[in-house]
């Protein structure tokens, strides 16, 4: 901010600045100092007011000086000093001349400020999310470790097993330290508040790997029931009370754990939203080889890199079977393992990269178009001075002196726009942070920092050169023939450069238009995906009851079955069910599944498992393709399961699954009977394929299958408005139990699709802006052409040309330019479509319909922008036009 103030003070006239500059700087400092006492928002508002005020006084002091001081000394300066003085004089003249043409000045400043502001805001996000180093020690040494095993049924990239993890940790010399990490949601309970919040149970070594220390307290001892909380949780749950360290609360699986530390504000791993870390250690005695799926992070030892550790890791992995035992299938996997070592940064940010670059390029395109428009405005302005410049050139003014006034004007325009753009970014960045989808790393730390200011200064200089230099150079070699009285030169040649600008604008706008069209189509496609269940008219919530009588399985079972009956009896409710992981809200756990036909561990397959009860399938509208769903009996007497179509086909292809025996690692060695087959569903990812899934009944006899606060799903037409009624009911049943995760399924779908929605809206906005600017550019050029040719058009009309004919002539003029732009833009869109492929869904990057639609829109807008000046041309009065000069 100090630098900004200094810059703004420097914009004042030298005499004024020499006398008052220091005082102004100090005044600004005092001002901010005082505002800082009343909080960040007040400081920001104050800073913005201050910047605008200083800009205003700089302009005002140039336009009407209040301080004459003594200027005898300053004129005598030589060399650089003289040039500075001349420039300052030139800038002052430019300010005065711009103040005299407020239309031109405000149009250019508004356009440029919007474009520069959008660039500053998006850059702030891109810079922080993609480029800010992670707040860990030596982040470049951190790597994400995984594996691949070609030829097995495992995914292309899978998480390591505990045995690989332990061997890598203790045997690999290329890795200094290794740790596991994870995150999930679980219940945290204080006397005042109960919620399911993001938690993590990493290996305690994680804190060594990352090289982080807590803000308060210490790292927990994994042998004790201890936990760390995040700065955000410390703030929102405990009001930053340091006394929270030492307090114990029930968390995770209901165990009461003591909070022994609070992490620093910038720490959030593996996600900024994680609020609780309960460190653990791995007991090698409990490792079952072949249980893959751990997330592992490591720190490279000095001198090694992601490439050089691979052979060592591969050798270690191959030795695992002889050390840990395991099945023949496992030995085969281990033999073929190819370790994957990727920079952690890439693993964390990976998905966000493409959309962010896309937005950055989109706003960059808007800036280019804005520059083209302003260059056009400058060119028209220079044209108006053509004769004046020709006179000056004729009497010997050198080119430099002819360019300078125009360059000075562009410097002033760009300077003011840049400051306005920063002010704009100041206000839009918080809105942008609120609008971007959850889960973008470091997003909360995005701010208008020095780098954003520097970036804006840099783009502004480029914009200034683009806007001012080209027209200035062109205008500085004016045609001396213009000195001849009445000569008008050739309109054709003079508009050529401007036509080129319009062509460029049209082309860029078309590229953006096509891109946003593809995203709109992806958005539509994502919303028309059938996830296998209804999203309309389904309400979902959870509550954590803590009644004294809820002590064992049967009491929980009776409680939830009774609660479902109460909800079912509410007006407008069609059905109700419960589920461990509500689709679109959470993912389900991965398991290995065996069948009664092939009970050996060797033949197990990868699947997923969850727990359900009540009329879950009916409520969600999941079709049962064979057998039946759960009854209340299944919730009390264990033994039955429902499988998904995909799982059934995988285990018993072409056969009837009902009545078969099945077991999974979710409830090891407990065999269940398949009673029904449910249609496949998409649990979380609308872009993915349905996973093979099995539904266990929520059986309260079995502690492993007990879910004390499951997700309720309620089918009702009042889904959007039923929450208060349910809340009242919950208060009646369990007065102290808070309700949480209150959603409609439609709301959850919107949340899951938020990334593409956000990208689409941002890109459509950018495309709309570029379309508008492009249209304005074309309109401006054609209006100019019409005004230059009014005499010729007047003659034509006088000689009997029809209105329609004149209009056609002008529109044709515009159409030619637009057509060339569309052709170039189409080529550009084809060439760049591949770049956004990763963001798209359900539409090919070269989708002909989208390309056709974008072209149609571009052509229509182009024709409209040509038609307005054409109408004016046809209404030219021949007498008036011929009498003019």
């Amino acid at each position: 901010m100090n630098r900004l103030v200094a810059f703004l003070i420097a914009l004042h006239p030298a005499r004024f600045r020499e006398r008052f500059g220091d005082e102004m700087a100090e005044h600004a400092r005092d001002d901010l100092e005082r505002a800082r006492a009343s909080g960040t928002a007040a400081t920001l508002a104050r800073a913005a007011t201050l910047a605008m005020g200083l800009m205003g006084s700089a302009i005002a002091e140039h336009a009407s000086p209040t301080w004459s001081g003594s200027h005898a000394t300053s004129i005598k300066r030589e060399g650089v000093g003289t040039m500075m003085m001349e420039w300052i004089r030139e800038l002052r003249l430019a300010i005065r001349s711009l103040v005299r043409s407020p239309g031109f000045a405000s149009a250019s400043i508004l356009t440029l400020a919007l474009a520069l502001g959008a660039n500053a805001a998006i850059f702030a996000v891109v810079d922080t999310v993609l480029f800010e180093p992670m707040p860990f020690e030596e982040p470049s040494e951190l790597v994400y470790l995984a594996a691949s095993s070609p030829g097995s049924d495992l995914p292309e990239e899978f998480g390591l097993g505990a045995e690989f993890y332990l061997d890598f940790r203790y045997e690999a010399s290329g890795l200094e330290e290794v740790a596991t990490f994870n995150w999930f949601t679980s219940t945290f309970r204080t006397p005042e508040r109960v919620e399911r919040i993001p938690m993590s149970t990493p290996d305690v070594a994680l804190f060594d790997v990352l090289g982080v220390e807590p803000l308060l307290g210490r790292i927990p001892d994994p042998e004790m029931d201890e936990a760390l909380i995040s700065f955000a949780m410390w703030t929102t749950w405990f009001g930053q009370d340091p006394g929270v360290v030492g307090q114990a609360y029930p968390m995770l699986d209901g165990t009461t754990r003591e909070i022994v530390g609070v992490m620093k504000e910038d720490f959030g791993f593996p996600d900024d939203r994680v609020m609780v870390w309960v460190p653990t250690t791995f007991d090698p005695a409990e490792v079952t080889p072949g249980n893959f799926g751990l997330n592992v992070i490591g720190r490279l030892a000095e001198g090694s890199d992601a490439e050089s550790v691979l052979p060592e890791l591969q050798a270690i992995a191959r030795r695992a079977p002889e050390k840990w035992g395991g099945s023949a299938r496992y030995a085969e996997i281990a033999e073929n393992v190819i370790p994957i070592v990727r920079p952690l940064e890439e693993a964390l940010v990976g998905e966000a990269r493409a959309p962010l670059w896309l937005l950055m390029s989109a706003v960059g395109g808007v800036l280019l178009i804005a520059c083209a428009n302003i260059a056009n405005l400058f060119a028209v302005r220079a044209e108006g001075r053509g004769r004046d410049l020709a006179v000056r050139r004729a009497i010997g003014a050198d080119r430099r002196h002819l360019i300078r006034p125009q360059l000075a004007e562009s410097v002033v325009i760009v300077g003011v726009s840049a400051v306005a753009a920063l002010a704009l970014a100041w206000f839009t960045i918080p809105a942008l942070i609120a609008a971007v989808p959850d889960g973008l790393p470091r997003i909360t730390r995005v701010s208008l920092d020095g780098r954003v200011v520097a970036f804006t200064a840099f783009t502004s200089v480029l914009a200034g050169l683009a806007c001012g230099l080209v027209p200035a150079v062109r205008a500085s070699r004016p045609n001396l023939s213009r000195l001849r009285d009445g000569s008008r030169g050739s309109t054709r040649r003079r508009t050529l450069g401007r036509d080129a600008l319009v062509v460029a604008q049209t082309a860029l706008a078309l590229v953006l238009l096509t891109g946003s069209g593809l995203l709109v189509r992806s958005f539509q496609a994502l919303y028309s995906v059938d996830p296998g269940y209804d999203v309309e008219n389904v309400f979902t919530f959870q509550f954590a009851a803590e009644e004294a009588h809820l002590v064992d399985g049967p009491s929980w079972a009776a409680f939830h079955l009774a609660t479902m009956d109460r909800i079912r009896a509410m007006p407008g409710v069609e059905s109700v069910g419960i589920i461990e992981n509500v689709p679109l809200d959470e993912s389900v756990r991965g398991v290995r599944v065996r069948t009664g036909e092939n009970p050996d561990a060797e033949s197990s397959v990868l699947g997923q498992a969850t727990l359900a009860a009540g009329d879950y399938f009916e409520t969600m509208g999941i079709d049962l393709v064979a057998g039946r769903g759960f009854t209340d009996r299944d919730a009390i007497e264990p033994g039955n399961v429902v499988v998904s179509t995909a799982l059934a086909q995988m285990l018993w292809p072409g056969e009837d699954p009902v009545g078969r025996q099945i077991e999974s690692t979710a409830l090891p060695d407990m065999w269940h009977t398949v009673i029904g087959v449910a249609d496949d569903i998409l649990q979380y990812d609308m872009r993915g394929e349905p996973e093979p899934l099995m539904y266990y009944p929520i059986v309260f006899e079995n502690p492993q299958a007990t879910v004390t606060s499951p997700g309720y799903v309620v089918k009702t037409e009042r889904a959007a408005t039923i929450a208060p009624d349910i809340r009242a009911l919950v208060r009646e049943i369990a007065p102290s139990a808070p309700m949480y995760r209150v959603y409609t399924m439609k709301g959850l779908l919107d949340r899951v699709n938020a990334p593409i929605t956000f990208t689409m809206i941002a890109l459509v906005a950018a495309a709309g802006m570029s379309l508008l600017l492009g249209a304005i550019g074309l309109f401006g050029v054609l209006s100019y052409v019409v005004s230059q040719r009014s005499r010729e058009i007047g003659v034509r009309i006088a000689l009997g040309a029809q209105t329609a004919g004149v209009q056609r002539m002008v529109v044709w003029e515009g159409a030619k330019v637009v057509a060339v732009g569309v052709a170039i833009g189409m080529t550009g869109a084809l060439a760049t479509a591949g770049l956004i492929e990763g963001v798209l869904f359900g539409v090919r990057p070269l989708d002909p319909a989208t390309f056709a639609a974008a072209t149609m829109v571009m052509l229509s807008v182009g024709l409209l922008a040509s038609w307005l000046p054409a109408r004016r041309a046809s209404s030219i009065d021949p007498i008036v036009s011929m009498r003019a000069d």
Partner: protein
């Protein structure tokens, strides 16, 4: 020194003169005084304040003074005080404003008893 233009003092000119009618003040203290004395209605920013001061100095209403400065970081502050002309201008303007205010009260039927 050049005379003030026709049209007299602007509200901000008046408030700065008013603030300086007591003891000499430095820049930020003037802002604070103006803000307090106008009940927050007038808050000159860094740029505007010095333009007003420059104008008032040019007119000969305000001059630099030696002020009593407590210790503070940075270079010594410049203090400003009223000249005799400044006092007269402030008094004239106050009288004029007083008359205007009285007229207004009378017309609103709220004249002083």
């Amino acid at each position: 020194m050049s005379p003030p233009p026709e049209g007299g003092l602007k509200p901000l000119d008046y408030h700065v003169l008013l603030a300086l009618a007591g003891e000499p003040l430095y820049g930020y203290a003037i802002t604070e005084a103006v803000e307090a004395e106008s009940s927050g209605a007038v808050v000159p920013g860094a740029g505007t304040l010095y333009r007003v001061l420059a104008r008032l100095v040019t007119w000969g209403f305000v001059e630099e003074r030696n002020g009593e400065d407590e210790a503070h970081p940075g270079r010594p502050r410049r203090w400003y005080g009223l000249t005799r002309e400044g006092r007269r201008a402030l008094a004239d303007e106050s009288r004029r404003l007083g008359e205007v205010a009285e007229l207004a009260m009378r017309r609103l039927g709220m004249g002083r008893p």
